[in-house]
C-alpha cells in the first residue's frame, strides 16, 4: 500500500525476465516451438503480427510470436522496433493487386464473376464443433494430412491471376472514375500525421492497424453510427510478386513475394452536387498476411473516412482524426502500459500542491 519506492529493481527485473522464460518452458518434457510451426500452425496469428508490425518478414514474425508468447501487441512491437535498426534503402515501383497469385477469391456482389469464385483455405463455413480427436493428434496422423493432399496431381489446376471484379462495373459506368493525377503517397513511418491527411496516409495507417481496434470502429459504422452499407465486390488472398528495377538495365525483376489480403467494397451511391450521374461509393482495404476481417473493416472505414473528409463527419468512424489516431496497437498499448511506471516524484508534487491549496482555503 501507499507509495513505497522500489529499490533493488535490478534484481527484480532480472528475476521477472527469468520467470517469464520459466512460464514459456514450464515443464521438463515440452518441446520448443519451431519458427516453421508458428508460421504454419499459427497461420492466422502469424498473419496478424505481420500486418500489425508493418514489416513483411515471416521469419522474424515467427520469432516475435515465440518471444512474446503469443501476445499479438507485443509481437507486432518487436517487428516495429526492428524496423528502426534497418536503413531505408528504397521504395518499390507501384505494385498492383491484380498481379496477386491467388489462393482465395470471392465476391458477395455477383454470383458469377469472370474466372469464378474460389473459397480457398477459409474458416467461414466451419461448424465450430470441437474435433476431439485432435486432443491427442499423433505426428504420423498430422504428417499424413499434408502428404495425401499433395499426392493429388493437379489435373485441372487453375491459373492463379485474375482480373478485378470492379473492372466490369467500371466499364459499365457504375463507378466513379479513377484518380487522374494521384499525389505521391504519404509515408507515415517518416512524417507525423497532421490533419487533414491524404487518403494514402489513412490507408497506410489502417494497413498496420491493430485488428481489434479497427474492427471495433468499423463495427460502429455497420451497426448504425454510420451508413456505408457495403457490399463486398471482391475479397482476395494470395501472393503478390514484388518487383524492383534491375540496377543495370532498369528492367523490372521479381525479388520476392508477399502474402496479402485485399478487399474492395461497393457502397451506397452518393448524390454528388457537381456530378450529373450518381455512381457507387467505393472502399478499399489491404494488409500483409491473411487477415480477412481486418481487410473488410479497413475497406468500410476507407469509405467512411472519404465521406468524413469531404463533408464534416457525422459519426466517429467518419472522423479521420478519431479513427487514425486510435487504431495503432503499438501506440495505444505503449501508452496504456506507461501508467504502470512509477510516478512517485510527480505524485509528491501533486500532494504538495493539494495540501498547500487546502491550507489556503482553510
Amino acid at each position: 500500500m501507499g507509495y513505497i519506492a522500489i529499490k533493488g529493481g535490478e534484481t527484480a527485473i532480472g528475476q521477472a525476465q527469468e520467470l517469464l522464460e520459466f512460464l514459456r518452458t514450464h515443464s521438463f518434457t515440452a518441446n520448443p516451438l519451431s519458427l516453421d510451426q508458428i508460421q504454419h500452425q499459427l497461420h492466422f496469428l502469424h498473419s496478424r503480427v505481420l500486418s500489425e508490425g508493418g514489416l513483411y518478414h515471416p521469419e522474424l514474425a515467427s520469432l516475435a510470436i515465440k518471444q512474446s508468447m503469443g501476445d499479438t501487441l507485443e509481437a507486432a512491437f518487436y517487428l516495429r522496433a526492428y524496423r528502426s535498426t534497418r536503413p531505408r534503402l528504397s521504395e518499390t515501383p507501384l505494385q498492383g493487386g491484380k498481379n496477386m497469385r491467388l489462393i482465395r477469391r470471392i465476391s458477395a456482389a455477383f454470383k458469377d464473376i469472370p474466372g469464378g469464385q474460389m473459397l480457398g483455405p477459409t474458416s467461414d463455413y466451419l461448424q465450430r464443433l470441437f474435433r476431439f480427436e485432435l486432443l491427442d493428434e499423433s505426428p504420423e496422423q498430422f504428417r499424413k494430412i499434408a502428404k495425401s493432399w499433395l499426392q493429388e496431381t493437379p489435373k485441372e489446376a487453375l491459373p492463379t491471376t485474375f482480373p478485378k471484379v470492379l473492372e466490369s462495373l467500371r466499364q459499365e459506368g457504375l463507378l466513379p472514375s479513377v484518380s487522374e493525377c494521384p499525389n505521391r503517397p504519404f509515408d507515415i513511418t517518416r512524417e507525423p500525421i497532421v490533419f487533414p491527411v491524404t487518403r494514402s496516409a489513412a490507408l497506410a495507417t489502417m494497413a498496420r492497424a491493430e485488428t481489434g481496434s479497427i474492427l471495433a470502429i468499423a463495427y460502429s459504422n455497420m451497426r448504425g453510427y454510420g451508413d456505408i452499407h457495403p457490399t463486398v465486390a471482391e475479397l482476395r488472398v494470395g501472393y503478390l510478386p514484388v518487383q524492383m528495377p534491375h540496377l543495370v538495365t532498369g528492367e523490372l525483376i521479381e525479388v520476392g513475394e508477399i502474402l496479402m489480403t485485399e478487399c474492395e467494397v461497393v457502397a451506397m451511391y452518393d448524390a454528388e452536387p457537381n456530378q450529373n450521374t450518381p455512381t457507387f461509393g467505393l472502399g478499399y482495404g489491404a494488409c500483409f498476411g491473411h487477415n480477412e476481417v481486418k481487410a473488410i473493416a479497413m475497406a468500410i472505414l476507407d469509405r467512411a473516412l472519404q465521406k468524413g473528409m469531404k463533408h464534416s463527419p457525422d459519426h466517429p468512424s467518419e472522423d479521420p482524426e478519431f479513427v487514425l489516431l486510435h487504431i495503432d496497437g503499438i501506440e495505444s498499448m505503449g501508452f496504456a502500459s506507461h501508467y504502470k511506471l512509477p510516478h512517485y516524484v510527480t505524485f509528491q508534487s501533486d500532494l504538495d500542491r493539494l495540501r498547500s491549496t487546502q491550507n489556503q482555503s482553510r
Binding site: G9, I330, F335, V345, D350, L351
Partner: protein, 311 residues
C-alpha cells in the same frame, strides 16, 4: 571473394555509400549494430539536436522512430541517448531519481546490450551522459556533462490551445498571454498556482518550455546550468534543449512568486531524509512498516554519497 572497393567504384556509384557500419557483415545477419538505431535515423536526430541547441527552448520536430521499449517509457530520451553515445561514454540512467528504479534498470540494460564498451555508472559526478525521467540530480551538474530528460508532453501551451498549428504560431511570436491568464485564473481560484510539476519555464527570454515532469524543486537547476540539457518527446516527435549558461525562468507573478515543493513539518522545521539526514534534498514520502509517514531522498546516489561522507 570480394577484393576491394576501388576509389573508382565509389566515384561511379557514390550515391549508395552513405555510412559504412564498422560492424562486420560476416556475423549473424540479424545482429543489431552499435547504438541499435540505423545510422540515418541517428543522423536525423543529430541534426535535430544541433537546431534545438541553436534555438534554445524551441521544440524541433523530427521523425521519431519506434523503439523496443513502449511509447511513454522514454523513447524520446532513448533516441537522443543512442544518437549521442560512443563507446567511451560513461552513462548514468535514473528514474524518479533512483538508479535502481525498474525503468532505469531496463533502459541501462538495453544500452549496455546494444552499445558494447559503454561504461555504466551510478555516480552523478563521473557520468558524461545522464538519462533521466522526472528528476534532475541533486548534485550540481558540471561543465561538459549532458543531461537527457524524457518528455511525455513537450508543449506547455497545450493546456490553453489544442491546435498544434496555432501553438506553433504562438510560440513563434513569443505570445504566451493565454498561459499567463491560465496561471492568473488559478491564483484567483485557489490562491496558489496549481501546476505541481512540468512547470512552464521561459528559456533565454523567449520560448516557454515544458521542462518535463520534474518537480518545481528541480526547475531552478536549469538556470545558467553548466551542463547541456536535452529534452526528447518520442511519442510527440519533438526535441528541444537548454544550452549551458542560459537563462531559465519559471513563469511567476511578482506578488505570488514561484515556489518549490514545501518540505517543512507542522513545527516549521525542514524535514530531513530519515536515511542520510539531508536537509536540502527533494524527499519521497513513504509509509513505513508501522504505517508511519517517513521521508527519504528521491535521488538515491545523492543519499548514498551523503551516507558515505558521514562515515
Amino acid at each position: 571473394m570480394i577484393q576491394s572497393l576501388t576509389d573508382e567504384a565509389i566515384q561511379k556509384n557514390g550515391a549508395s555509400v552513405g555510412v559504412l557500419n564498422t560492424a562486420s557483415s560476416e556475423t549473424n545477419r540479424y545482429n543489431y549494430q552499435f547504438g541499435f538505431l540505423d545510422e540515418y535515423a541517428k543522423k536525423e536526430v543529430r541534426r535535430t539536436l544541433l537546431k534545438a541547441v541553436a534555438i534554445p527552448g524551441y521544440q524541433v520536430p523530427y521523425a521519431s522512430r519506434e523503439m523496443p521499449i513502449a511509447r511513454g517509457f522514454g523513447t524520446g530520451g532513448l533516441q537522443i541517448t543512442l544518437s549521442l553515445i560512443g563507446s567511451n561514454e560513461i552513462l548514468k540512467v535514473i528514474d524518479q531519481g533512483s538508479d535502481d528504479s525498474v525503468n532505469a534498470v531496463n533502459i541501462r540494460k538495453f544500452v549496455a546490450t546494444t552499445c558494447p564498451g559503454v561504461t555504466l555508472t551510478r555516480q552523478t559526478a563521473e557520468a558524461t551522459l545522464i538519462q533521466s525521467r522526472h528528476r534532475i540530480p541533486e548534485k550540481r551538474l558540471k561543465f561538459g556533462q549532458i543531461l537527457v530528460l524524457q518528455v511525455p508532453y513537450p508543449d506547455p501551451l497545450v493546456v490553453v490551445e489544442p491546435s498544434e498549428e496555432k501553438r506553433k504560431i504562438m510560440h513563434g511570436d513569443g505570445d504566451y498571454a493565454r498561459l499567463w491568464v491560465k496561471l492568473y485564473e488559478d491564483m484567483v481560484k485557489f490562491k496558489e498556482i496549481t501546476i505541481s510539476h512540468r512547470y512552464p519555464t521561459r528559456i533565454n527570454g523567449f520560448y516557454v518550455i515544458d521542462p518535463s515532469p520534474i518537480p518545481r524543486f528541480d526547475v531552478p537547476k536549469l538556470h545558467q546550468a553548466e551542463a547541456l540539457c536535452l529534452f526528447g518527446a518520442g511519442r510527440e516527435k519533438k526535441i528541444y534543449a537548454v544550452p549551458p549558461y542560459t537563462d531559465a525562468e519559471p513563469l511567476s507573478f511578482s506578488d505570488i512568486p514561484f515556489r518549490v515543493e514545501d518540505f517543512t513539518d507542522e513545527q516549521g522545521n525542514r524535514r530531513t531524509c530519515q536515511r542520510c539526514g539531508s536537509m536540502t534534498s527533494f524527499l519521497n514520502e513513504l509509509i513505513d512498516s508501522k504505517g508511519a509517514k517517513v521521508y527519504q531522498c528521491s535521488d538515491s546516489n545523492y543519499c548514498d554519497s551523503q551516507l558515505g561522507d558521514q562515515k
